[in-house]
Amino acid sequence: MTREIAKIGEYTPIEAMVVYSARFLANFDGKKGLIGTGLPLVASQLAKMMYSPNMIIFLETGQADANPQELPISIMDSRLTYGSSWQMGDPEGLFPLSRNEIDFGFIGGAQIDKYGNVNSTFIGGDYNKPVKRLAGTAGAVDIGVFAKTTIILMAHQKRRICEFVDYLTTPGWMVKKWPEGTLVRREELGLQGGPSCFISSMGIHKFNDDDKIMYLDKYFPGVTPEEIKANTGFDLDVSRAAEADPIYTEEIRLLREEIDPMNIYKMR
């Protein structure tokens, strides 16, 4: 099947982020994922339609094998219950993580650092008097600790992609060993998993095998590696980056017409 390619300008950077995320989920067809609220849920819907029809979706409010017939707005949306195999509560929804059943976790966040640590708790100032208070831990800690791998999605902004997060909510590759707070490799604390990729609104980022520092793997069509580097809060290695495959009109059509016709998620 030949697919029509969408031109640059025919989709927004956020739509591109969601499309590349959905494509990445092709790696998890038939696998079990715990999907966070917001854009990860949108990307999963697209993935189920095009790339990963047998992906098994768990949600932190206790649905196993959820099959929403239309896009949920809330993490406990009624749309998630109907058609799922089992509907319990949050503990039962999260325990597949701690039982090591979850092949991938898929989350957003507000800040990410070069080790793939994610912050969704506060930005700036002090914990007790933050400049910007955020949503807190909800699922983000647990996905980072227990999922066999983590996929992270976040709009690309210089202040959000930084040297080290203001608060370590979701553990990436270098995490804090308590009580001292020493930075150590996650394996040293007996944590499996770790982030496999960070998909922004400009490109796809992976992590070096040795020092586990983020590098640019792919830049989206119409974006240059230099632009990405300039919009990143640490010295991002872009030397190995290649252009991502183009986006198909069908992907954008599904997002706009089938998945989010009301633009609830403000992707456009």
Partner: protein
């Protein structure tokens, strides 16, 4: 024995300084009408456990809450809980973040009547940062300090399976648990549709349990299928019928969310004055919840009513446009 009381009477049982958990999560199946009554009764110094979203945030705006211990402080798609956000950024509310499995295990331990449980759940993260441990400050606000643990966590080596360092997590116990549900019997047997969130566990470990429900139904009806019930009558103290008691959120099989109302809430409450005006318009009404429903109007509510068998209003039927 019937446990049916008025909303006013039920909320009178809550004391200043109580440690309280509200059912549902984010904007859905939350005891919003109960929270508004708490604001009307001007409760003070409450300690919120679990999450601080919609109904909790209304209590924060109403000046009822001084401390929070939990995992989530957002209204989801409608933004960070505005009253909590403002007070956190002012530094005028005490908060102590814990993880989501952390919270789950705490509540599970509470319902099992055990003191603590072990997990790797927050290992490596700032949840365990001693500099961010505000449990002692939370305890200062609480009336019954023995309901809260002495310590936030303890690290220890797993002696059984070689899992390395694990975190001991204390049980979560409560003075008060308020849940809004689809159905309750007059003796207190609860049936929930959709996510149980934490209700099925939290209600078992609270000293006082208040159930508000869309409908109070004959106890005998619910007892025809005890497997389908979610909280036993033996754990429930008071029962209140409050139709649309979770508006503007969803209640599975009953109604969908009122998106414009939720958006208006977020926009209104960025300042305390904004919240006060919003509260004057929606909380401090004559006839309390009945006044609220009448002001919303029957036709607005009818558009939100769930469509079987889905339990929500499918968008292609135009309900929520």
């Amino acid at each position: 024995m019937s446990k049916v009381v008025s909303l006013e009477e039920a909320i009178r049982a809550i004391k200043d300084g109580d440690i309280i958990l509200t059912g549902g999560i984010v904007e859905d199946r939350r005891p919003v009408a109960a929270a508004m009554e708490i604001v009307r009764q001007q409760k003070r110094n409450l300690v919120l456990i679990g999450t601080c979203s919609l109904c909790d945030d209304i209590m924060v705006g109403g000046g009822c809450v001084e401390a929070y211990r939990g995992t989530y402080t957002s209204n989801g798609a409608f933004g960070i809980s505005p009253n909590f956000k403002r007070r956190a950024e002012e530094g005028t509310i005490i908060f102590d973040d814990i993880g989501h499995i952390d919270y789950s295990l705490g509540v599970m331990a509470g319902q099992a009547g055990i003191p603590f449980i072990a997990s790797k759940t927050c290992i490596g993260t700032d949840v365990l940062n001693p500099a961010y441990d505000n449990l002692a400050q939370v305890r200062e606000v609480a009336r019954n300090k023995d309901v809260l643990p002495n310590k936030k966590y303890v690290l220890m080596e797993d002696p059984f399976f070689g899992m390395g360092t694990v975190q001991l997590i204390p049980a979560i116990k409560l003075d008060v648990c308020i849940c809004h549900v689809q159905m309750v019997g007059e003796e207190g047997t609860v049936r929930i549709d959709g996510s149980l969130t934490f209700d099925h566990m939290a209600a078992l470990s609270a000293r006082t349990v208040i159930i508000t429900a869309e409908r109070v139904v004959p106890e005998s009806y619910l007892r025809q299928d005890p497997n389908r019930n979610c909280i036993p009558c033996t754990s429930v103290d008071m029962v209140v019928e409050v139709p649309w008691g979770a508006h503007p959120g969803q209640v599975y099989n009953c109604y969908d969310m009122d998106i414009p109302f939720l958006q208006e809430y977020s926009l209104s409450c960025t300042t305390q004055e904004g919240f006060d005006q919003w509260a004057a318009a929606w909380i401090f009404l004559e006839n309390g919840h009945d006044g609220y429903l009448d002001k919303l109007g029957a036709s607005r509510l009818e558009k939100l009513r769930a469509v079987p068998p889905y339990g929500y209003v499918p968008r292609n039927k135009g309900g929520l446009k």
